[in-house]
Subunit: 275 residues, 6 copies
């Protein structure tokens, strides 16, 4: 567990516990111990098991936490995910924060897995975006990987992505790419967002490393892929749903990115029971 997760968990616990868990402290004797299980109540792809361990161990390092599955596993409804035993107060105090994290991350992994399943057999990788929950990006991108997806850049610092607004400000795709090549770290590729075949052509002519086809009709995507002909990587973006993703992948693009993987995945249904 690295410092990023420890800080996140401490912040989440502080937010929930504040000056104290008044219910458990009033009702549960401090020395009471219990056994508990964490249960999947729906089919899900698991993500966050070690994060949930960190929640309980931050409260009490002596809690026994035995995972029965691991992140990335597909889990049928009704399956036990973790067995716990230890101090009852710590189990009850940590329950909600642990579940909140586990449900959120497994929700993302589960949705990602559905998208990935839809493009099975085709080369297109399913990518996340920067449309993540503030403060949780690293964990959400981890959950996408657990669901079989791949990560787009982690932030504004590890990849050059030239969007329409940058192009407007620079005057043209050509000038935007030239400036980026001159100034940005030479280890970063340059991706250009395009909406038309002309823009695809111009991007190719200035040797963009990656071309994003933004909100294009599937037919135009197919033409673009033909035009690009392997001279750049191709990423499709916009209007990506479970209903459209297969057709998009069949155009031959290398990657398909969707913000909904992270910003609109419903929480997976997971609960904890004291035995």
């Amino acid at each position: 567990m690295d410092k990023y997760v420890r800080d996140l968990v401490e912040r989440a616990l502080k937010e929930d516990i504040g000056p104290g868990d008044v219910t458990s402290e009033a009702i549960i004797p401090p020395e009471s111990t219990s056994r508990a299980v964490i249960l999947a109540k729906q089919f899900l792809v698991l993500a966050g098991i070690e994060v949930s361990r960190e929640v309980f161990h931050t409260l009490d390092p002596t809690i026994q936490f035995t995972p029965l599955a691991k992140d990335g596993d597909g889990i049928p409804a009704g399956t036990e995910l973790v067995r716990l035993s230890g101090n009852t107060r710590a189990l009850l105090t940590g329950e909600r924060v642990a579940l909140n994290l586990l449900q959120h991350l497994s929700g993302i992994a589960t949705l990602t897995a559905k998208y990935v399943e839809m493009v099975k057999g085709l080369k297109a990788g399913v990518l996340d975006t920067r449309k993540t929950t503030p403060g949780l990006r690293q964990l959400e991108k981890y959950a996408v990987r657990m669901g079989g997806g791949r990560n787009h850049r982690f932030g504004l610092f590890d990849g050059v992505l030239i969007k329409d607004n940058h192009i407007k400000a620079a005057g043209s795709i050509t000038r935007a790419v030239e400036r980026a090549r001159e100034k940005a770290n030479h280890l970063l590729k340059i991706e250009v967002e395009t909406k038309t075949l002309d823009e695809v052509s111009e991007s190719l002519s200035v040797k963009a490393d990656i071309i994003m086809l933004d909100n294009m009709h599937v037919d135009m995507m197919r033409e673009s892929v033909t035009l690009i002909a392997g001279r750049a990587l191709v990423e499709a973006s916009g209007n990506v749903t479970l209903g459209t993703i297969r057709a998009i992948a069949e155009t031959g693009v290398d990657f398909i990115s969707s913000g909904s993987l992270t910003h609109s995945a419903p929480a997976a249904d997971i609960s904890m029971k004291i035995k």
Copy 2:
């Protein structure tokens, strides 16, 4: 804007920008200025407008940020929400974090408003839960209020809620309530989670302030409300959907709580355009 929001925004910006926005810094001249708008691309109930202002002002306090709507407003698709003008780099660098917050919070407010609309004319208040995103609870609960909902407790510290696990550990509802009354801060009410009419009766007999009807069939809820007869507040919980909420409210409960308001609201569709 209080310190909680400032810290959250700084954390979110740091997560996204890291050592620098390589694209904007390479392509956009530092002195360039632009005008931009933030647009609702679907019907939504707005939440987070001041938080998004804080994002841009953290990057550059001289940016002009003019809201055209306020939190809590119902907004038709296609409406301009904010007009901005100022340093182009700051506008582009802040865009994603501002939208991530605005889309997430407006998503919650919009979903909450749908639930509230469903119980119109009945006394039941729509409540959130502690099933929130780690680190964002205060803002998410604010978004629930903007959607017309009410807040349940903010954490483990501002209300005694005795759940089945507490009851097991204490031996009975009676003993759990007695201990809570003896030890907890006298300004906190005591709520008991019940699953049967017997549990409702026992809770009444020890003068619980609030009785939660957990995952009960609507008929049993109605019986419970009759049994309680105003001697305690009544909260319904479990299986609350847009399809079930009206029937639940019609049983006469005081409150209906649902985790999905915060943990499964899809992001509202909002974008920013440089003019």
Copy 3:
């Protein structure tokens, strides 16, 4: 030891040690070990023993720290409280911070115990207030409990307490209570501060959960208790001293609160000796 205490101890050590304990580092060889005792030099009720352990263990986790008494114990003058052994530098460097905490918290517990002793046999609970030392509230309220007192609310967030200023702003007790009932979290009780019998009556008529009798003469307190007749909890406040508290308790109030428990308790006399 939770994060709150660890942070407090780290801040206190940093404040005292800064870039180094120049005396010990110059004079004591780094490998030197010693044995030491912490001694009560007056009668006291102990509070803070685990906090003082945290001080030494933050400096050196290998120090042997053996408590000979526990928080809440009444301790005669001259009693050994802790035996320590380990690195001499760490013992000397930690001494002052450990004692500062132990003396401050035991001072509060000792004073609280005197108040509690005075109301023995009567139902009135002795309460602290929010008049605590900035940054130390949780520990000070813990010390009050160790002295046999009970805690009032922990902050502005876990109880509604309507004071004269709120009443003025709202226009009347009735309107203030109504607004609070409508808006505040339904798990929080509503307490009203009153100075006259009329205010007590008005508070009763709007079903305040708790009525504070503020700075009333003992006779008026008695009348108020009679008037309230069990329909609300009653808290007495103002002019509470060791000389007045028994008479106040005899009026039949449920609680008596006093800021002096925390803001004016003299430090208990405790010292550490290297053997």
Copy 4:
């Protein structure tokens, strides 16, 4: 206001407000404004006026805060200390934290002034110690200065003070002083704690810069001062009360130090009234 005070004030406000001032937010309209005064309810020496300003300005920078006295002033009972006007919620939310700081610091300044008054006309300076409240040392030492006292070292880093435990560990005063002179920063003086005339003599013979007379009878103090004869500064410590301090000062010592200035000063009685 420097960062130290800003951090302290933010920590104190967070501790008190947590997720929100439920009373004011429910009852006071957000746009309501009020006028208020802060009043001394006893004679006191003021300390902390700028710190209390920082409390209100952290909550709302537009609050008008007009001090009618300044730190270090002697203030008769009943005097107005500050006039405030601005947002009512901010005034009520900040009241307790502002008063807690002002009462604590003025309590220290007031007690210090009494000690200083007792030694009027004699050369002895009244010194504080490191027996301060964790996290508040700088402010408490500031309050001592406001009361007319002087500060001893701020921590373990800005002065060498060789106590009995250091002497034991080193083998003798001579060796302890020699080691300190060899290793410690050459800008720091060396003070030795002594309990007997022999120890005073040994300290003189190794040219200690300052000699502390610890818990000596007044007669032995007088002899020590004669023996030292100006060859070192002299500090008296131990059993310093309002009853003993004049006799101690009359022995001719340069400084008298007392922990009670900071660890046992009762809070000064100060309140705030909304007009």
Copy 5:
């Protein structure tokens, strides 16, 4: 000034000032004002002027700080860099931290400019490395840019650089590059460190984006450049000094990187004088 710089400056000031500037506070009246200049005492390339402004403004926002040159300028010995006026204490208290930053950053810019001058007319860009001072990387890389250099990656996160140790662990260059291409963010280029022509060949055959020639003799570098023939970018590294850099550049490499720009640049001689 962004949060990164503000945090760094606050940390540096806290480190230097601790509980107070005892000299200035004792000697300089609080209301005293002065004028001062900051002077270059050697030829230098300036870097850090805005950082030094932040130092003074953190202490006192009313200080007048008028730069007479800007970062990146070549400055003859004896030139005034900044004129200041304002509170004397703040000027004296901030002097050392401001100069420490300015001297360090200008030292790096000045050394970088010498390297850049040596390769004038050739295409090779001068690059820094990750051999920077802990906590100062962003500012040091900024100083390199001010000296005319370019930045290599900012950390382990914004570029794939496969070194000998990675190759050993993977088994071969081919497998290492394949794994990196499969797993790393598609916006990151892949650079391989090579020591022989065979390694260069293997890197080319797996289409490495960049090939680093590590500690090669200039002749072998030239052969490598010929072999690569524009199919990858080429970076030379190792034994880069003012004496060797021109010969290295003449081999036709695209970039030359050197740790000494940041880890061994002597401080530039700059001082401040009160007028």
Copy 6:
């Protein structure tokens, strides 16, 4: 390892790793283990061995870290300094930060040792200054000690040093020293910076504890030492190089201080090799 070092190491790792070491994570299997050595590639005086241990243990506490030398040792080129074994990813991810710290601190210790060697047999101690790298002062001053030097004050808080600017503001040396004696903590000595014999005389007449001879010619230094005649400690400062330091020491001064020990020491050449 104290909190200061832990915080510094965490900050340095975060700066370098950000959201992840993309190369190692892509190429090195998570369970891979390796053995490695850290090697001195030049003669050096070692400083920072425990700091480098902290770097690896922060990443993975199970790494075996076996130092073969200790701080303060003189190390011939080619010597193994540390043997490591454990998780390959952690070794590679920590390498650069560990070496950056070790090279920087050993560079300072090595340069200090050269200065100390030059004054061998003479009484003059070699002192550092406050001209240190922001955020690293404590470690840099530690490195000076490891090289055989002594530390000047750690900041503005632990010694009074009256410079020309203070003298100007006070009006004269006499008035500056008098004010400092009256106000500053009595445990701090008073040092005065002088440039002429007259200033030396005036400093003596007001009993300055230490006299700094600033940028004086060696002849004037010698005269000053004669004039002072043991009545104050003497520190020489300015134009201190390996070429001049012996002559300065021969004048009989007690201390010689030089900023170059910390601000201009080139990094020592140290590398790590996976076996």
